[in-house]
Assembly symmetry: C2
Homo-oligomer: 312 residues x 2
Amino acid sequence: MLPEQGRVIDLRAAEALRLQAQGATREAALRYASVVFPESMSAAIALGQRFLDTAAEAAAKYGDDASLAMDGLHWGAACDPSVVRDGLTFSKHIRQFHERMNISPTPALLEVPGYFKGSPWTVIGHEAEVQWPMRSERLDYELELGWVVGRQAHNITPEVARSYLFGVTIFNDFSARDLQGNEFAIGMGPTKSKDFAYGIGPWITTIDEFPRLDNIRMSVRVNGETWGEGDTSEMLWTPEELIAYVSLGDHAQPGDVIGSGTMGNGSALELGRSVKPGDVIELDVSGVGVLRNRIAKRAQETWWPERRRPFM
Amino acid sequence: MLPEQGRVIDLRAAEALRLQAQGATREAALRYASVVFPESMSAAIALGQRFLDTAAEAAAKYGDDASLAMDGLHWGAACDPSVVRDGLTFSKHIRQFHERMNISPTPALLEVPGYFKGSPWTVIGHEAEVQWPMRSERLDYELELGWVVGRQAHNITPEVARSYLFGVTIFNDFSARDLQGNEFAIGMGPTKSKDFAYGIGPWITTIDEFPRLDNIRMSVRVNGETWGEGDTSEMLWTPEELIAYVSLGDHAQPGDVIGSGTMGNGSALELGRSVKPGDVIELDVSGVGVLRNRIAKRAQETWWPERRRPFM
């Protein structure tokens, strides 16, 4: 990515050019380049240092020859996590969320880092439209960072967690606020209130560009107007603690995304507002960039379950 | 599978033999057979009718030549879901669970089918050991069916849901009961209370062998003693409703497993009991078979988060 120049590098093309200059046939060069720079970002990250080294070398030698204008590009999601996980770590958001909902926060929040799991099949990228969730009248965004896992992590400790991070992306945890009531009450975690769109992008900034993770500035704009801003300083649980906790008993995979949780003032709910079809949501994160998504029109609804009669 | 003969068919080998008899080279025959019968069951199911037809033909012609004794086999999980989902559909279990926990069921259970999402990276197969979850003193099993999705499903209705089912397997939703308290209170769904082992197997019975889904008999044995038995008749939500609901906004994939939810008397919790290291849990489902797992010894614990001080 060369965002400051308005250009991106087609790494697969750059690497193929480099190999051909070293004597490879075009077919062999493309075959090799497709393995190091596959369609799946998770597969690329899983290659570890070979992926990063080859990217740096290819970009340095043939980046100019293989660069494209950013304008007019079609953006995929910045990565393709096997599992979407999303934490709850910013104290200010937790406080304001509970005040707005007029409920007391459970003491359980102080015991363990809460997180939910989302469907990886509703991940969308930069500039993609957000499908309006069925039966909802109250749609919201959530301003978050996405911690991108770099290596398989199982039962790790916070002390080593940073070395398991590949990079940082922007994560918009779109939420249907009116569907959350039943889902909270059932206690099995969000389903239809979240599994319609997770915005991830526009790209990933590698972790070496973030000497600290507690001073990243973020803001959200709706139709160009700033609705919230802040930074990552007020954390109940550190990113390292969240990642280590995720790894307990479970296995985080290269390319998995763990949402930081919503920043204070990072949701419209905290402001008593919501968004509507056609609105453009921009999440702006210093050191990463801007993730922009438009809310789609409502679609025809197909089916919704019929309420059951009490059985006890 | 030829469980009644104590044998299984290596379908890849059978198909390779069949192709070679028709003139294919050994290499080409194995290459083709590996595509139709890949390591991933999800990838096989995604091939649709070609997978089923080829399996039937290969088994009919070369099944005997390519069969193996079941004794001594190493079992993988019956499938490799991209997402584990697990519902809550049996009224009797819901009633007994709430009576035992001394809590009232939320009316939200009558509004929409509840389900949670589990990590696909903790799926285990028949005869695999169940890792003891950190910080837990109270481990349980849950007797469930696993509905195996056959085709991509998005916004489908219950009327067509059966045609999206590939088959039925057995699902053991192992649960750390003492970790569930904090996780229910946080409301983001189960994490460490569930994401350590989902037993799926021993195999999948294709859906054509189940004319009805509401009269399947099930039982659970612990160390050979029957602890619970029943059938699928008392459902709050039908399998078709659960699958259709999962597909709303989200995308179910071939090979995904949707747990039916625990059967009445299908957990030790309902009996005031729990299981201990070394116990052998067998789930027996008519028309499928027996899924057997042993509870492992406790392992050394690495790290657990430190409780936070109240911040509001």
